[in-house]
Symmetry: C2
Subunit: 147 residues, 2 copies
DNA sequence: CCAAGTTAGATCGAATATCGATATAGTTCC
DNA sequence: GGAACTATATCGATATTCGATCTAACTTGG
């Protein structure tokens, strides 16, 4: 476990740095990614998973909204809350970053021995299953299935 | 590549968040990790890999030094520079975080089907090779070999 | 050796991010 | 309707970041 953990740590140092961030800080990018993967949700849902407190998230959202990357609509079932969702500009930032990472990772993987390449590509499903397991642990038992 | 990249992104969202940070922010933790993996180096070496500019790194180092996690000694070959290195307190923060991650990852992996577990454990070497390839690309062709 | 250019790192001031505490407004339960 | 709760906003203080600039130390060509 030691060994695998260290390899993942080192790989992440690399992977995280691949795409140079635009004018957005780490928290803002993380919020965009989360909104992209989970779909519209409320501020308090994000507070649970992002690594910042609610006031910081409120001001981050204000900036993202000013920049036209996120929009809010009233939550029909609760007058206190808003539903937050990505605008198309927001979606394109996320997918641009994703595409950059995929491309740069692809360039590295192309230089691996074929056997390694195959093994690595085959690991995606395992990673998904781990994420799912972790989600079941603290969150509700399903929810991670929707595209 | 799409598929693998997305799985890694999702896994990272999880992996990054595993250990709640002490009183140190993301940049400080990243610096500690880098110092731990690369051994003593100069401020300007870190500026090249960390995602912050030199003034921010200088003030981060000042805080880490105040907190007793990093120490500096004069660089014998260059009177302008200092060599930065982890103190034993700094080392133990890094290894504590590493151990936490290993333990939590281990708990998840234990719940995978045996075949998946084996495949995942076998991927460490491939990740190392990718990191090495990326290092050869922009840095000097070797250097990544030391323990 | 010396002047000019370069590099390592520190410092300053402004902008931004974050936090804890608290305020506001909507909701639920009795 | 009123107490308790929840979602989010706001406020003031502290921390982080950056761009610009500064100093000291190194390097080089003569």
């Amino acid at each position: 476990m030691e060994r695998l953990t260290r390899s993942i740590e080192d790989f992440n140092s690399l992977f995280i740095r691949l795409p140079a961030s635009d004018r957005l800080n780490f928290s803002a990018l993380s919020v965009l990614h989360t909104l992209s993967r989970r779909g519209p949700c409320r501020l308090s849902d994000l507070v649970r998973t992002e690594q910042i407190k609610q006031p910081a998230l409120t001001s981050a959202m204000a900036k993202l909204e000013r920049d036209g990357l996120v929009e809010r609509s009233p939550d029909p079932s609760d007058g206190r809350a808003s539903m937050l969702s990505l605008t198309s500009d927001g979606r394109s930032i996320v997918s641009r970053r994703h595409a950059d990472r995929a491309e740069q990772l692809g360039r590295l993987i192309d230089r691996l021995p074929p056997a390694d390449r195959t093994r690595l590509l085959g690991i995606a499903g395992v990673l998904d299953r781990i994420v799912q397991l972790a989600g079941e642990q603290d969150g509700k038992p399903d929810e991670r299935s929707g595209q």
